[in-house]
C-alpha cells in the first residue's frame, strides 16, 4: 500500500502509477474498486482551526474522530453529522475526513443543515494527470470561479485524490430533545415528519421506522435549553408527541440494517417514500430526511436494487447498492445519456488514463 506523507508524494505516486489505483482513506466505506492501494492516511493533521470564524482546514487523511474531538473542545461540530459505516458494512479501520468528503457522507441533520458538500468550503487535490489543483478556499461566501468543491464532494476519488479540505463548522447545541409517536401507516408517518419540518421550530432530524402495530416517527430539536423546551412543547402539542431516548446515533449509522445481507440506499422526494416502499420487497426499512432517504435491507440484493431503481426511474431520485451482491444490476442508478456523457467527459479530463478508483462510481 502506498501511503504518501506529502502532497508531492501523492503527485509522485499518481505520476508513477502504471495501472489502476484504489484510492482510499482507511477503506471503511465499502467503496468497490480495483488496483494498487493508495491511502491518504499519512496526510494527517489539522492545518488551521478558527472557532470564531467557524472554519477548519484539515489534511485529508486525518481521522474523523480527531476532527470531532478538536471541535468538541471548542463546543463545535460538523453539523452534517457524517455516518460511520463500519457497523453497517462490517468494515474496520479509522474513518478519515477525506473519506467523508469523497463520499459526501451526511447523516440525519442533512435535512436541515445540508449535506457534507454544503459545508465544504475548499479542497486541494491531485488529479489523475498529477496536477495539484485548489478550489474554493476557507471563507463561507466565495463565488470566485467554478465550484469544483461541489464536484469533488461525492466523486469517490475518481477525479482526484483529496489532500486537504476546508469545512464550515457550527456550534454544538446546549440541549437536544427527541419527540416521537406511533402512526398507523408509512404515509401517516411521513405526513407527521413533513408537518414537523414545515413548522417554524427548526427540526434537525426527522426519521421513521416500522415497529409492531405501525410506524414510529421521531423529530429532533436542538439549541439553547429554554428554546428547545419551547419548541419541543409546541411540536408535541401539535402532533401528539412524547419524548423518547436519543435514537440519532443509531439512525445515523443505520445500525438497524447491520445484519442484512444486502442494503440499498434510496433518495427520493419525501412524498414518494410510500410508493417506493410499495414497489420493493424489503425485510428491514429505515426512513430518514423526512422520508426522502430510504434504507432498504433484505436477502436478495439484486432484486431489491432492481425494484428500487425501477421506482426511482418512474418517480425521480436514485437508488444505490451499498452492501451485498447485486449481480448484474448496476450499483448506481443509471444516468440519462447526456449526463452520463458529461460525467465521462469530466473523468477523461481529470483522469485521462482512467486509473483513479475504476468502478467506484459504477
Amino acid at each position: 500500500m502506498m501511503t504518501p506523507q506529502t502532497e508531492d508524494q501523492v503527485v509522485e505516486a499518481i505520476s508513477d502509477a502504471s495501472g489502476p489505483l484504489r484510492v482510499r482513506g482507511c477503506g471503511t466505506r465499502g467503496v468497490v474498486s480495483a488496483g494498487a492501494d493508495l491511502s491518504t492516511r499519512a496526510l494527517s493533521g489539522i492545518t488551521l482551526y478558527e472557532p470564531g470564524a467557524l472554519t477548519l482546514v484539515v489534511r485529508a487523511g486525518t481521522p474523523l474522530a480527531e476532527v470531532e474531538t478538536a471541535l468538541a473542545d471548542e463546543g463545535q461540530r460538523l453539523a452534517f453529522e457524517p455516518t460511520d459505516h463500519r457497523r453497517l458494512l462490517g468494515t474496520s479501520g479509522t474513518p478519515t475526513i477525506g473519506g467523508v468528503v469523497a463520499a459526501n457522507v451526511s447523516g440525519p441533520r442533512r435535512i436541515s443543515a445540508g449535506a457534507c458538500r454544503d459545508h465544504l468550503l475548499g479542497v486541494r487535490f491531485v488529479d489523475g494527470a498529477g496536477r495539484v489543483v485548489k478550489n474554493g478556499g476557507r471563507v463561507m461566501k466565495n463565488v470566485t470561479g467554478y465550484d469544483l468543491v461541489k464536484l469533488m464532494a461525492g466523486s469517490f476519488g475518481t477525479l482526484g485524490v483529496l489532500t486537504e479540505v476546508s469545512l464550515k463548522v457550527l456550534p454544538k447545541p446546549e440541549r437536544v430533545a427527541t419527540l416521537s409517536t406511533q402512526r398507523g401507516t408509512v404515509e401517516d408517518a411521513v405526513e407527521a415528519l413533513s408537518q414537523g419540518l414545515g413548522s417554524p421550530f427548526d427540526v434537525t432530524g426527522a426519521a421513521a421506522w416500522p415497529e409492531a402495530g405501525g410506524w414510529r416517527m421521531a423529530l429532533r430539536v436542538e439549541g439553547f435549553a429554554d428554546s428547545v423546551a419551547y419548541r419541543a412543547g409546541r411540536l408535541s402539542d401539535g402532533l401528539g408527541l412524547a419524548p423518547i431516548d436519543d435514537p440519532w446515533a443509531d439512525l445515523r449509522d443505520v445500525v438497524a440494517l447491520a445484519d442484512c445481507a444486502a442494503v440499498v440506499r434510496v433518495s427520493v422526494r419525501p412524498g414518494h417514500a410510500a410508493q417506493v416502499l410499495a414497489a420493493v420487497d424489503a425485510e428491514v426499512v429505515q426512513l430518514d430526511w423526512g422520508g426522502g432517504l430510504i434504507w432498504l435491507g433484505g436477502p436478495d440484493g439484486a432484486a431489491l436494487l432492481r425494484a428500487a431503481q425501477a421506482a426511482c426511474a418512474r418517480l425521480g431520485g436514485h437508488a444505490s447498492g451499498v452492501k451485498g451482491d447485486f449481480g448484474e444490476v448496476p450499483r448506481r442508478q443509471p444516468e440519462a445519456p447526456p449526463i452520463a456523457a458529461i460525467t465521462q467527459g469530466l473523468r477523461a479530463k481529470f483522469d485521462p488514463r482512467g486509473i483513479l478508483n475504476p468502478g467506484a462510481m459504477g
Binding site: R117, D118, K141, V143, G154, D202, G292, L346
Partner: protein, 477 residues
C-alpha cells in the same frame, strides 16, 4: 476592459440568423433593431457597454433549446441574461452575440408544501418566489439585495448570496434541481425533488458557473417555514478591532444570529446624514439580528448583550418592537443610496476570514490615503463578505481609473489574508483579469476543463470569468 474582436463571419450573417430565429420564436421575441438591442447593452455594471447583435426572449425550455441549437450550428456566441442586475458584468454582451433573456419565463410550475419545495421557471424574480409561498408561512431564503428585480436564473448562474446566509446558506445550498439547456440545444435535468446527486454533483457545478455551462430554464428550490419573529440589536464600539473581537466571541459562544452587519465610521456618518436613523457617533457599528419565538429572541439577545458589554460598547440598543427594529435597519438598508447621494462609488465584494477584519480595515485605510480616495465599509461580518465602497467623482478625469486600481489592491489584499475576490457578485467581466491573483494557472486550467466538456466551442457567455490570454487555447480549440 479588453474584449476579443467580434467574429466577422457572425456579424455578416445577422439577417440569416434573425430569419432562422424567427422561424422558431414568435415575431416579437426576436429583437434585431439596433435601437432596441441597446436595452441589453449592459447590466448593473454600467461602466461597460456593448449592444449585442440580437436579443431573443424565448417563452419555453423548448424555445431556448431551439435558439441554442441554431446559434450552436452557426457558431454564434450567446449571453444568457436574467434581469440584468449583475454588478460584475455577468450579462454584458459582445458585439457578435445573441442575448438570451429569460424574462418571459416567469411561471410557478409547482408548489409542494409537504415536500417543502417550489418549482419555477427561471425568469421569475427572487422575491416573487417567496411571494408565491409566504401566504402559507414559507419563504425562499437567499435574499440578494436586488431581490425585487433579480431573476432566479441569474441567482443560479452567480450563486447569489444575501444578508442572511450565515444561517441559511447561499443559492447552491437551497437549490434542489434545474432544467438546463446545453449550448447544442440538449435539455438536461439535474437533481429534482430529492436530495444529492446519484453521480457527480453537476448541479453544484452549474450553480455559480456564470451562465457559461448552460442556460437554466427551470429551478426546483427549497422553501423553509418562516420563523415566528426576528429582532435586531445595534451595538456601537470605539474601534473596528473591538467590534471584530465581539463578533468572534458571539460566534464562539454558540449563538448563530441570522445576520451580523458591520459598518465603519465613514459609512455610519453617511447613512446618518442620509437616513437620520439615530445611529450613535462611533467608530464601528454592529447590527445583529436573531430569530425565533419571542422568548428565544429575548434569550439570544441577552446572551449577545452580555458578550458585547465585555467589550465596552459605546451604545447597545435592543429593538423592543417592530418600529425600533425598522429604525435600526433603516440606516444600513439605505447605505448604498446614502453613498450614491454624496458621491459616485464603486462597490467591492471580497471575502476575508473574519479574524482578519481589523488588519484588513487598517490596510484599506492605508490604501485610501495612498490613492487619495475615501472608503466606507459595509460588511456581512458573520461570513466575512466585505463591501468596501470607494468614493470617487466620475466627472474628474482619471478618478475612475484610480478607483479601479485601488479596488484591485483591496481585492488582492482579500486574497492575501486567505479570502477571495468575490463573495456574492461573481467574477463576470469585472474581476476576470484578477483571477490569476487567486488561482494558479493549473487551478484555472482545471476550471476551464469543465467548460470544455459542457460547451466545447466556448460560445456561452464569452469573455467572462477567465482571463482572455489564459483561455485563448481553449477558445481556439
Amino acid at each position: 476592459m479588453h474584449m476579443p474582436a467580434p467574429d466577422a463571419r457572425v456579424m455578416d450573417r445577422k439577417a440569416e440568423l434573425a430569419r432562422r430565429l424567427r422561424a422558431v420564436l414568435p415575431e416579437a421575441a426576436v429583437i434585431d433593431d439596433i435601437a432596441e438591442t441597446r436595452a441589453y447593452e449592459c447590466d448593473g455594471l454600467s461602466a461597460y457597454k456593448c449592444p449585442p447583435l440580437l436579443a431573443v426572449l424565448p417563452g419555453s425550455t423548448q424555445e431556448v433549446s431551439a435558439v441554442l441549437a441554431i446559434c450552436h450550428e452557426m457558431g454564434v456566441p450567446v449571453v444568457p441574461r436574467g434581469s440584468g442586475t449583475s454588478l460584475a458584468g455577468g450579462a454584458m454582451p459582445t458585439a457578435d452575440s445573441v442575448v438570451l433573456g429569460v424574462s418571459r419565463l416567469t411561471q410557478v410550475l409547482e408548489v409542494d408544501l409537504a415536500d417543502r419545495l417550489i418549482r419555477v421557471q427561471a425568469g421569475r424574480t427572487n422575491l416573487s418566489v417567496t411571494a408565491a409561498v409566504e401566504g402559507d408561512g414559507f419563504f425562499y431564503a437567499p435574499d440578494p439585495s436586488s431581490q425585487l428585480a433579480c431573476a432566479i436564473a441569474g441567482n443560479v448562474a452567480m450563486n447569489s448570496g444575501g444578508a442572511h446566509c450565515l444561517k441559511y446558506g447561499v443559492t447552491t445550498n437551497n437549490l434542489l434541481g434545474v432544467t438546463v439547456v446545453l449550448m447544442d440545444g440538449t435539455v438536461v435535468e439535474l437533481g429534482g425533488g430529492h436530495l444529492d446527486a446519484a453521480g457527480l454533483d453537476l448541479l453544484g457545478v452549474v450553480c455559480g458557473s456564470e451562465g457559461q455551462l448552460g442556460v437554466v430554464t427551470e429551478a426546483t428550490l427549497r422553501i423553509l417555514a418562516k420563523p415566528e419573529g426576528a429582532r435586531p440589536v445595534l451595538i456601537g464600539f470605539d474601534s473596528n478591532a473591538v467590534a471584530g473581537a465581539c463578533v468572534s466571541d458571539i460566534i464562539k459562544a454558540g449563538v448563530l444570529p441570522v445576520a451580523i452587519e458591520f459598518m465603519d465610521r465613514p459609512c455610519i456618518t453617511a447613512c446618518e446624514a442620509f437616513a437620520k436613523a439615530g445611529y450613535p457617533d462611533c467608530e464601528a457599528l454592529l447590527i445583529i439580528e436573531v430569530e425565533g419565538a419571542e422568548a428565544e429572541i429575548d434569550h439570544q439577545l441577552a446572551l449577545i448583550g452580555e458578550i458585547a458589554r465585555r467589550h465596552d460598547p459605546v451604545e447597545l440598543r435592543e429593538a423592543r418592537d417592530a418600529d425600533q427594529a425598522a429604525r435600526i435597519w433603516l440606516g444600513r438598508k439605505s447605505a448604498f443610496g446614502a453613498m450614491g447621494q454624496i458621491n459616485d462609488y464603486m462597490c467591492l465584494d471580497g471575502t476575508i476570514p473574519v479574524s482578519a477584519l481589523p488588519h484588513v480595515l487598517d490596510r484599506i485605510g492605508e490604501l485610501s490615503a495612498r490613492f487619495g480616495l475615501e472608503v466606507a465599509n459595509v460588511f456581512h461580518a458573520g461570513d466575512g463578505n466585505m463591501h468596501p465602497l470607494i468614493l470617487f467623482d466620475a466627472n474628474t478625469p482619471g478618478q475612475l481609473e484610480t478607483c479601479e486600481a485601488m479596488g484591485d489592491e483591496i481585492l488582492k489584499l482579500c486574497v492575501e489574508v486567505g479570502g477571495c475576490l468575490t463573495g456574492e457578485h461573481g467574477v463576470g467581466m469585472e474581476k476576470r483579469d484578477l483571477m490569476g491573483v487567486q488561482f494558479s494557472p493549473v487551478d484555472l486550467e482545471a476550471q476551464m476543463d469543465v467548460k470544455d466538456i459542457f460547451d466545447p466551442r466556448w460560445l456561452l457567455n464569452p469573455a467572462k470569468v477567465f482571463p482572455l490570454e489564459a483561455a485563448a487555447s481553449h477558445r481556439a480549440a
